[in-house]
């Protein structure tokens, strides 16, 4: 098992004819992902990396049985692409695109929820169930199949963490980048709920950062309902207030979103928080060995 995506996932790549879309389709195929179709409006009938291109997501669902979407569409058109996927009945939508305006995401997030789909991202590296499928842009080779779930607001920071886990002999069930924007489709809690029910997952690493209160909410959920060991890391302890640290969502504003508050909330919920990123792999190994 794993969560959300596995060997049965049939992926449609929206924006497949673009530079990023084409490159990562090739990378996903090389990893063994079942990319069944691509969508670029007006380019239906072409092929990219041997994958048939269609004009609409609905066609990919009807003709190829697509059930997962991976979106590489530019920010100005991405909201429409996400809503198209949700309307076509895609249940897991992964939006890699960075730079979507917040007020667009307000409409998108509400629409996707209404349709009963799960949106991962935007502004995220995607989701991977190692050994089964990779839907996104993460380097596949650093992952190994195993028992750790990983949920993160960041991209390369997740690679760093996964790399340390793999080097500490801790494989992963599923790794999800939930995205670095202020408004994202799914939260830590949405994925923790799934990890709770997943027999393959024995422990979870949660990677947060400054901005918002998602980590505090996750801490409360873990304290009340989660029954597997959780290890957390929060980036941005040295970030100055009021400045946006790269990610649109990474900003300490009005005294909210500080790393210290997040760390405190997580620790109060009994969660081990790694303060030095360099020690994450070793700490995870100790915790999992103690189980």
């Amino acid at each position: 098992m794993s969560i959300l995506v596995d060997e049965n996932s049939r992926v449609v790549v929206q924006g497949i004819t673009g530079r990023e879309g084409t490159f990562h389709t090739q990378q996903m195929l090389a990893y063994g992902t079942n990319v069944v179709a691509g969508v670029t409006p007006g380019k239906g009938g072409q092929k990219v990396q041997g994958v048939p291109v269609m004009n609409r997501v609905a066609e990919a669902v009807e003709m190829e049985g697509a059930n997962v979407s991976c979106i590489f569409v530019p920010a100005a058109f991405a909201p429409d692409a996400v809503m198209e996927a949700a309307a076509a009945g895609i249940r897991v939508i992964v939006c890699i695109t960075e730079g979507i305006p917040v007020l667009d995401m307000v409409r998108v997030a509400n629409f996707v929820k209404e349709k009963g789909a799960m949106l991962i991202g935007p502004n995220c590296p995607g989701i991977i169930s190692p050994g089964k499928t990779k839907v996104g842009i993460m380097p596949g080779h650093i992952h190994r199949q195993g028992s750790m779930g990983v949920i993160s607001r960041s991209g390369t920071l997740t690679y760093e963490v996964v790399d340390q886990l793999t080097k500490s002999d801790l494989g992963q069930s599923t790794c999800i980048g939930i995205g670095g924007d202020p408004i994202i489709g799914t939260s830590f809690i949405d994925h923790l709920r799934l990890f709770k029910e997943d027999p393959q997952t024995e422990g979870v690493v949660l990677i947060g950062e400054i901005g918002g209160t998602a980590e505090e909410e996750a801490a409360e959920y873990i304290r009340a309902e989660f029954n597997k060991p959780v290890l957390a890391f929060i980036a941005g302890r040295t970030a100055p207030p009021g400045r946006r640290m790269g990610h649109a969502g990474a900003i300490i504003s009005g005294g909210q979103g500080r790393a210290e508050d997040k760390i405190e909330a997580l620790q109060a919920a009994g969660i081990t928080v790694v303060l030095n990123l360099a020690e994450l792999g070793d700490t995870a190994k100790q915790i999992m060995a103690g189980q």
Partner: protein, 391 residues
């Protein structure tokens, strides 16, 4: 992107939200003619800088005559202003807003922002106007009223009633109408301009019962600027660090900090974590620099040049986890920058991920002098050692 108060007030005026009569002053010679156009005395002279806490820093002056006005202008214009939110050197004031004085009866706070948890715009209203809203939230949270807006319906008049009738002293009918109409206009302005924050603090009720926005703060969502060319032109680069302006032009995420360890990292999360690691090692980061997931060789070169322009930098840490950004691209970018500039500080390089072997080889075969760190732990150690060595 932050707007100046006078810019936000111009947008308010166009939207029909009342503001005090005022004029922008950029040179002392114009003071006389500006004062002639504005009812008064008294007048209020306000420094136009993005930093908050202007009042506490002496950047807002109430003046009772021409002489006092001239004095205030002499003290503020083209002089540094230090507020609780600036550095100790402060920021230079290039523009002043001169306004008529207003007869204040009551002060409120009215703001709008996007609630991340509820994923919708939310109106915030409080009878504790004129104070820092964060302080009010901490000390008397019951005085902060909120109305989340359903994006499908937009702002509805009943929501204004929800906010206004929570007041312990409900104002008269005329004022209620004015407040209600202002709230609707604020919502429309917020959405039309893709704001991430819109604040009026204080929103005042005059002795005549009229509503006036005494202050105005607007922050525009950077990601939406592509569809607001008119707003993008309101950007004031003088408010930013010159190195940050350079970085912005090169599409790099760079923020100048107070330390002396330059850092170049790919990805915002890893860049923040690297800053934290530098600090844990007993040093201070000089900057946050995220070259992004898909940086080109030119962007790497540019980023490296910007770090080297910062004279305080005594060591540089490059931490790259190659995903989309390949390590060989990074290595070539660094070498290109090294050709153009003398690197006279120690360079610590940590490379991992896509094409790492090729990247390391390129660096090793060059005549660039650098230290290799195999992982984050070693990178931190080397940084600490360098700092210690240099005392």
């Amino acid at each position: 992107m932050k707007l100046h108060e006078y810019q936000a007030k111009e947008l308010f005026q166009k939207a029909g939200i009342p503001v005090p009569k005022g004029r922008l002053l950029t040179s002392r010679d114009k003071l006389g003619s500006v004062l002639e156009e504005i009812p008064g005395p008294p007048w209020v002279i306000k420094a136009q800088v993005h930093a908050g806490g202007r009042g506490k820093g002496g950047g807002v002056r109430l003046v009772k005559g021409q002489g006092e006005a001239a004095e205030a202008v002499a003290e503020l214009l083209e002089k540094p202003l230090v507020t609780p939110q600036t550095t100790a050197e402060g920021v230079i004031v290039h523009q002043l807003l001169v306004e008529e004085g207003v007869d204040i009866d009551k002060e409120f706070y009215l703001g709008m922002t996007v609630d991340r948890k509820l994923a919708c715009p939310t109106m915030i209203f409080s009878p504790s106007g004129g104070m820092e809203i964060e302080e009010v939230a901490k000390q008397s949270p019951d005085l902060i009223f909120k109305e989340p807006v359903n994006p499908a319906t937009g702002w509805m008049p009943y929501q204004a009633r929800n906010l206004i009738y929570k007041l312990s002293q409900v104002p008269g009918g005329y004022t209620v109408k004015e407040l209600s109409s202002t709230m609707k206009k604020i919502y429309d302005l917020f959405v039309a301009n893709d704001c991430s924050l819109l604040e009026i603090n204080p929103l005042v009720i005059t002795k005549q019962g009229s509503v006036i926005a005494l202050d105005a703060k607007m922050t525009i969502d950077d990601n939406a600027l592509y569809r607001h060319k008119d707003l993008a032109q309101l950007d004031d680069p003088r408010e930013k660090d010159p190195l940050e302006v350079l970085a912005e032009a090169a599409s790099l995420n760079y923020i100048r900090l107070n330390g002396n360890i330059g850092a170049m990292v790919n990805g915002a999360g890893l860049a923040m974590a690297t800053m934290d690691v530098i600090k844990l090692a007993g040093a201070e980061p000089a900057n946050f620099l995220d070259v992004g997931g898909g940086a080109s060789e030119e962007m790497i070169t540019k980023g490296f040049e910007i770090i080297l322009k910062d004279e305080r930098v005594r060591a540089i840490l490059i931490n790259i986890f190659g995903g989309i950004l390949r390590c060989d691209v990074l290595a070539r970018g660094v070498l290109e920058a090294a050709k153009k500039t003398d690197i006279d500080v120690p360079l610590i390089v940590r490379l991992e991920g896509t094409n790492v072997e090729e990247g390391r080889k390129i660096l090793e075969e060059s005549d660039l002098d650098f230290l290799v760190a195999r992982d984050m732990a070693e990178a931190a150690e080397l940084v600490a050692k360098e700092v210690k060595r240099q005392g």
